[in-house]
């Protein structure tokens, strides 16, 4: 039997901020053991909302999506 202690880094966004690595977003992020912490940075909640709105517009259903 072997015992390992695995350390996971948890990032927590500051008040009013959201963490992102450019693709994913979170208030709390439990990094995978092999993840690069430096790829995550904070943006404001307003910026986050703007990005979600932009994503929503970009992803609006277009029947051509499926062709």
């Amino acid at each position: 039997m072997t015992t390992e202690t695995i350390t996971r880094i948890k990032l927590t966004a500051s008040e009013g901020m959201v963490l992102t690595d450019g693709e994913h977003y979170g208030k709390e992020v439990f990094l995978a053991v092999d993840a690069d912490k430096s790829s995550w940075h904070e943006i404001t909640e307003a910026e986050y909302e703007a990005k979600m709105t932009e994503k929503e517009r970009a992803g609006a259903f277009n029947e051509a999506d499926s062709i």
């Binding site: 695995i6 996971r8 959201v18 963490l19 690595d21 693709e23 994913h24 977003y25 979170g26 208030k27 709390e28 992020v29 439990f30 990094l31 995978a32 053991v33 092999d34 993840a35 992803g59 609006a60 259903f61 029947e63 999506d65 499926s66």
Partner: protein, 286 residues
């Protein structure tokens, strides 16, 4: 007037026939009334026959219409590609396939299959009423399969699908789906917007044997119950690398709270232990 001698039992028989077959509760019939009474019985019987014939003809006509439509629409049971086949305009009241729906193992066989199904209907369609009639397991592209469909208790095997783009999204935010049970496999490489706008989703279960091998995001599902969150995490592929699961912080806080109303689930031992079980995944709460 000539007198006729006869046995009165014949008159009794005629009178009984009239009483039994009349529609106006005739109690007694005099001989001079019998001719007209018999005509009334005949007329009444004819009307009954006509009505019965009308009903039977109507039912036969409906059946013939049903057969003609579904034989054509499902190619006499041979159809295996149902791309957008039950999309916009399809209502639960007319969704009554004659043949079992089985999707081919080919591209687009299930794309948009139920897109906007049932919108405008009074109640959300219960998938369980037709589950035995539909087999989507052969589908390789399930993009938008249930996009904005007003269907609840979805239970499907999508383990052959490589693409679940917008599969269960409530893009038009009208569905109110609360229960989804799905099987997926490592074949799927696209979970983009699969569960967007699923704000009413409480139960999202990944069926036994499911493997999630690509980035997945379910942040809009703020009402997910604990068992659902556990189901998602248990399905995360142990051999994945560089992958991220995004969940609702609100959902985790509630689902794993240490006591009723504490809303502290995100710092509970139970949640932290669950996260620790998939250390190869980045798990984000937003």
């Amino acid at each position: 007037m000539a007198l006729v001698v006869t046995d009165d039992k014949h008159y009794k028989n005629i009178a009984n026939m009239i009483r039994e077959n009349s529609d106006n509760n005739v109690l007694s019939v005099k001989p001079e009334q019998m001719a007209s009474a018999i005509q009334e019985v005949a007329d009444y019987k004819e009307s009954l026959g006509l009505e019965q014939g009308r009903q039977e003809g109507y039912q036969e006509g409906k059946q013939a219409e049903y057969d003609a439509f579904w034989d054509a629409y499902q190619q006499n049971g041979n159809r295996t590609g149902y791309r957008y086949s039950f999309s916009s305009g399809w209502m639960p009241s007319i969704f009554n396939p004659k043949y079992k729906i089985t999707l081919a193992n080919s591209a687009y066989s299930g794309t948009g299959m139920f897109f906007l199904f049932g919108t405008g209907a009074g109640e959300t369609f219960d998938w369980r009423t037709v589950a035995d009639m539909i087999d989507v397991s052969g589908c390789t592209d399930a993009s938008s399969m249930f996009n904005s469909a007003k269907i609840n208790y979805i239970d499907v095997d999508l383990s052959n699908a490589t693409n679940l783009f917008k599969c269960f999204t409530s893009e038009w935010q009208i569905t109110g789906c609360t229960h989804i049970s799905v099987k997926v496999s490592e074949k799927c490489i696209n979970y983009n917007s699969t569960f967007d706008y699923c704000s009413e989703l409480t139960h999202l279960f990944f069926k036994e044997g499911s493997v999630i091998a690509a980035n997945m995001s379910v942040p809009s599902a703020t009402k997910l119950v604990k068992e659902s969150i556990e189901s998602i995490i248990y399905a995360l592929w142990d051999s994945a690398s560089g992958k991220t699961l995004t969940l609702s912080l609100t959902a985790v806080k509630k689902a794993f709270e240490t006591s009723p109303g504490a809303n502290d689930g995100n710092i509970s031992e139970e949640w932290l232990s669950l996260v620790a079980s998939k250390s190869n995944w980045t798990i984000s709460l937003v």
